[in-house]
């Protein structure tokens, strides 16, 4: 706890104080950098200043096993020329390093028009999250106590609970975006996450269960509504259910997906395929299909970065653009792609606030924020009752998609058989596979019970990880391939 940020107030003032003032980078120094960057042929350029402070605490066997803290800062310098992007970056935020990086990044363009450097103007949007530093929001003693109380509640669920691992992580990130158009925007981003992983044993059988959540808030989030303790109970419950699970069916069946985190279906099946870069390049299975029917009329899917405090939300994206509510599919018809600055410009459309990057050392690209399907007309009970024999999947590990062929998978970690309209025996985790452009055309019922996930998603693309959210109401897909062993 050697350092705790005490500055409050306007993110832009904080970011200026953190990055620009110590290096004596004023308007004329930034103009000097952009003059170097905006050589002939460069259409656009930006600087991305970032600092992160990150901590992790881990409890195992009832002991506080590990704790670590990481500090990182640097600046990424990008130049864009037509379809070309150049990136160089430095851990040192000083003018000579910025100028050197600008030379390297700007070399991506060597022909064409001279870009214009705009006058500096402040941008941004009203913050979607508080400015309390999560790392400083709780004393180390209280963090350790929180881990211990979660451990105790998970163990208290059942004597078959054998192993409990609890991890608590917090990040405080400050970013400042300066671009050649003169935009200057900042964001101070908290992010917390708590995860519980349980092993339960009965006779010779061992099974796992995990649960958790998080938000762009301080650690107090986990104390509200006893969330942390609920994660502990829920992880234990899932492990115990899995102890009863039998072999999953193999073959093509009707599948009912529960509300919330099973929305990972949308993320994989349609979300990635609607990111601007793949569509500009024509490598997405959805390329050129704008205005076409890609889902049943019951389906409306949006990407929404504006939900206050959500894990996938951002006040501004990593290019300084305010995030927004972007309809992707409306009543079954494809209506929108997610865009960053480069792809929006090349496709002749507006930015959607989806330009994101893992860090200053990575190039931005179009990425999802919180992706979810709006509620429909059906009672969830009625949906289950409509299935004679099928699968009811309520929790998932992760998923993956091949953007080009449209084939995607996602892996159930808690699922049950539906027999004669009733949820019956739990079955072992199984992978579900489908085809992105047509899976949503097979959605025949949509519940009235929209939920967002508990704040646990991480999305990987081209080696870059970013936090995301998903959500959906209960859904019925008439036919999906279920990868069990029981044929």
């Amino acid at each position: 706890m050697s350092k705790s940020a005490t500055a409050v107030g306007d993110p832009l003032e904080r970011a200026r104080a953190e990055f620009l003032a110590p290096a004596e980078l004023g308007e004329s120094e930034l103009n000097h950098v952009f003059a170097r960057l905006m050589r002939p042929g460069v259409d656009f350029a930006d600087l991305y200043f970032q600092s992160t402070r990150h901590e992790v605490w881990m409890l195992e066997d009832g002991q506080i096993r590990e704790g670590s803290r990481n500090i990182d800062r640097g600046v990424g310098v990008r130049a864009v020329s037509g379809e070309k992007s150049g990136l160089a970056y430095s851990d040192d935020i000083v003018l000579p390093a910025l100028l050197e990086a600008s030379g390297a990044a700007g070399a991506v363009a060597r022909m064409g028009r001279q870009g214009q450097v705009g006058a500096i103007r402040s941008g941004g949007a009203p913050p979607l999250y508080g400015d309390e530093d999560p790392l400083a929001s709780m004393t180390s003693d209280r963090k350790v106590d929180l881990l211990r109380s979660v451990d105790a509640v998970a163990r208290g669920v059942d004597p078959r609970v054998e192993q409990v691992i609890v991890t608590l992580a917090g990040v405080q990130e400050t970013v400042l975006v300066a671009d050649a158009d003169g935009r200057l925007a900042a964001d101070v981003r908290p992010l917390v996450r708590l995860n519980v992983s349980v092993i339960a044993a009965d006779g010779g059988r061992r099974e796992t269960g995990s649960a958790g959540g998080g938000a762009r808030q301080s650690y107090g989030f986990f104390l509200e509504h006893n969330r942390a303790l609920d994660y502990g109970r829920e992880a234990a419950r899932r492990a115990l259910i899995n102890l009863e699970a039998r072999e999953a069916p193999a073959g093509t069946l009707p599948v009912v997906l529960g509300p919330g985190w099973p929305g990972v279906l949308l993320h994989e099946a349609v979300g990635h395929g609607l990111e601007g870069d793949f569509n500009r390049k024509g490598t997405s299975a959805f390329a050129g299909r704008m205005g076409e029917r890609v889902a049943s009329p019951l389906c409306t899917v949006v990407d929404d970065g504006t939900l206050p405090g959500r894990r996938g939300s951002l006040t501004i994206d990593d290019e300084g653009e305010a995030t927004q509510y972007t309809p992707l599919i409306e009543n079954g018809v494809l209506t929108g792609y997610m865009q960053d600055a480069l792809n929006a410009r090349l496709m002749g459309v507006g930015r959607t606030g989806n330009g994101r990057r893992e860090s200053f050392a990575h190039l931005p690209m179009p990425r999802m924020t919180n992706t979810y399907m709006l509620a429909g007309p059906h009672d969830p009970r009625e949906i289950i009752e409509s299935v004679e024999y099928g699968l009811y999947a309520v929790n998932f590990g992760g998923g993956q998609v091949d953007i080009t062929s449209g084939k995607f998978v996602f892996s159930a970690s808690e699922a049950y058989l539906i027999e004669n309209g009733k949820v019956t025996a739990p079955v072992k985790g199984a992978t579900l596979v489908g085809n992105g452009p047509d899976v949503l055309t097979r959605v025949s019922m949509v519940g009235n019970d929209l939920e967002l996930d508990s704040g646990i998603g991480v999305c990987g693309k081209d080696g870059q990880s970013v936090p995301v959210g998903v959500g959906q109401p209960t859904l019925k897909v008439d036919a999906m391939t279920v990868g069990g062993t029981q044929s």
């Binding site: 050697s2 590990e66 670590s68 379809e83 992007s85 093509t252 996602f410 085809n435």
Partner: protein, 454 residues
């Protein structure tokens, strides 16, 4: 792009000297000692690299990489704290050590914590020939990537689109030091060329890739061959369909077979064992594969992608069998997990170093004939592997095999089974070994798994 001359310093020229990293590591250890720590260890690394991606003959991305980090772990008695920083200023290093010390006040006293035993530290430091800087200018890299991409486009008229081709060169320096007085130094390079091709036919598109990676640019596959292979692989997928649900033999190609050996590694890793989170608990000395199966770790191969003289705790590496005669010979341990299990570290802090499945006599075509009818898997998707239970269910794509030959491409299916059963039902390991990774194996033939499709 070739008109304006050179744009970037060749990779490797701008790295700091190893002695500077050693000085930072010493500073961290000295600061820890001064703060009262009983033991400490520090790792310092810097990397420089250049990567270029070309698409349709034009530069898509040009990235200059320069990464650095310092990580320190302190022990007060048997209480542990860790911290890391990307800032190499003296003040930042001292801050990191202070943070680690502050954390150690809250972690539990754990008799298994601590440095690896001093007598296990590496003492000899043979040159493993890992450091081959590639003096690659951005223009040269762009030209190579263009050549690779052009070879893909020209390979087949059904290559209708392209994600592009990439060329990268990277050099890194690492120093690991601990309060036993151990100091280890590594300079290593890694270079690569890749290509992602898209094949189209009627309304459907298929994408596939190929890559080559090596310590020395001399060992990279020919740049045109990489493009051609990516193209052939994408074209071969055109017309892929689903198959009926049934239990059949499955042949994993060398790239997907690597993941199977990865699951073995995951299940015999110390952290999984002491947590009782493995389907291979107490399996050392037990037969878990057929008798012909041999897996050996060879950490000191010249130019090996996984080669290392010492592990992440300074422990000397040595050649050692993991599986012999189908019997698991040992676990994969660092000092912490070894102490938890009452064993000695196997020099695997940070993972395995060049794990090799001993190849059999059959090449890929001979394995197809041996299989007769079934599924060849060339791509696996998703995370449906549970190492606690051994339950296995993943999305797959590949080829259907009839009469010992490829019949047609397959997609949108799953392959499922249980890992102990899959290991037990291995029929053969091919001689078609993929040498590109830290885990090296030929194709693996399993005599029965559930394939789910229609």
């Amino acid at each position: 792009m070739s008109s304006a001359g050179s744009v970037a310093a060749p990779v490797g020229h701008a790295l700091p000297a190893v002695v500077d990293l050693e000085r930072l590591a010493s500073l961290a250890l000295d600061t820890a000692r001064a703060a009262g720590a009983d033991a400490a260890e520090a790792g310092v690394s810097v990397d420089r690299g250049l990567s270029v991606n070309v698409r349709k003959g034009e530069v898509d991305t040009l990235e200059h990489h320069r990464d650095r980090g310092l990580a320190v772990t302190v022990y007060f008695g048997r209480c542990k704290g860790s911290a890391s920083t990307g800032d190499f200023s003296e003040a930042a290093v001292r801050d990191a050590v202070e943070s680690a010390c502050a954390i150690a006040r809250y972690t539990s006293d754990d008799p298994a914590h601590g440095l690896a035993d001093s007598e296990l530290m590496a003492r000899d430091f043979p040159d493993l020939d890992l450091d081959h800087p590639w003096p690659l200018e951005a223009d040269d890299a762009i030209e190579l990537a263009r050549e690779c991409e052009a070879a893909a486009v020209e390979a087949d008229s059904r290559i209708t689109n392209i994600e592009g081709s990439g060329v990268s060169a990277q050099r890194g320096l690492r120093v690991y030091a601990n309060s036993h007085g151990f100091v280890g130094r590594v300079a290593a390079t890694s270079h690569g060329i890749n290509c992602v091709a898209v094949a189209g036919e009627r309304d459907t598109m298929q994408r596939d890739y190929w890559y080559t990676v090596a310590r020395s640019p001399d060992d990279l596959e020919d740049v045109q061959a990489v493009g051609q292979r990516a193209a052939r692989r994408a074209v071969a997928r055109l017309g892929a369909r689903r198959v009926a649900t049934e239990r059949v033999p499955v042949l994993f190609d060398p790239q997907t077979a690597r993941s199977m050996i990865g699951h073995l590694v995951g299940a015999v890793r110390g952290s999984a064992l002491y947590r009782q989170a493995s389907f291979l608990l107490d399996a050392a000395g037990r037969r878990i594969f057929p008798e012909w199966m041999e897996v050996v770790e060879r950490p000191r191969l010249a130019r090996g992608m996984g080669s290392a003289v010492f592990d992440a705790e300074g422990v000397a590496t040595r050649e050692s069998p993991l599986v012999a005669g189908g019997v698991l010979q040992r676990y994969i341990l660092d000092s912490y997990s070894a102490r938890r299990l009452g064993l000695q570290t196997t020099g695997n802090a940070g993972g395995v170093h060049n794990l090799q499945v001993t190849p059999g006599d059959d090449d890929f075509d001979a394995l197809l004939r041996r299989m007769g009818r079934g599924l060849v898997v060339t791509e696996l998707m998703g995370q449906g592997v549970n190492l606690v239970t051994g339950d296995y269910s993943r999305g797959a794509a590949g080829f259907w095999v009839e009469d010992g030959g490829i019949a047609y491409p397959v997609q949108e299916v799953t392959v499922a089974g249980s890992l102990p059963d899959i290991f037990d039902r291995l029929v053969a390991a091919g001689c078609d070994v993929d040498r590109r990774g830290n885990i090296q194996t030929g194709s693996l033939l399993v005599d029965g798994m559930t394939v789910a499709g229609e």
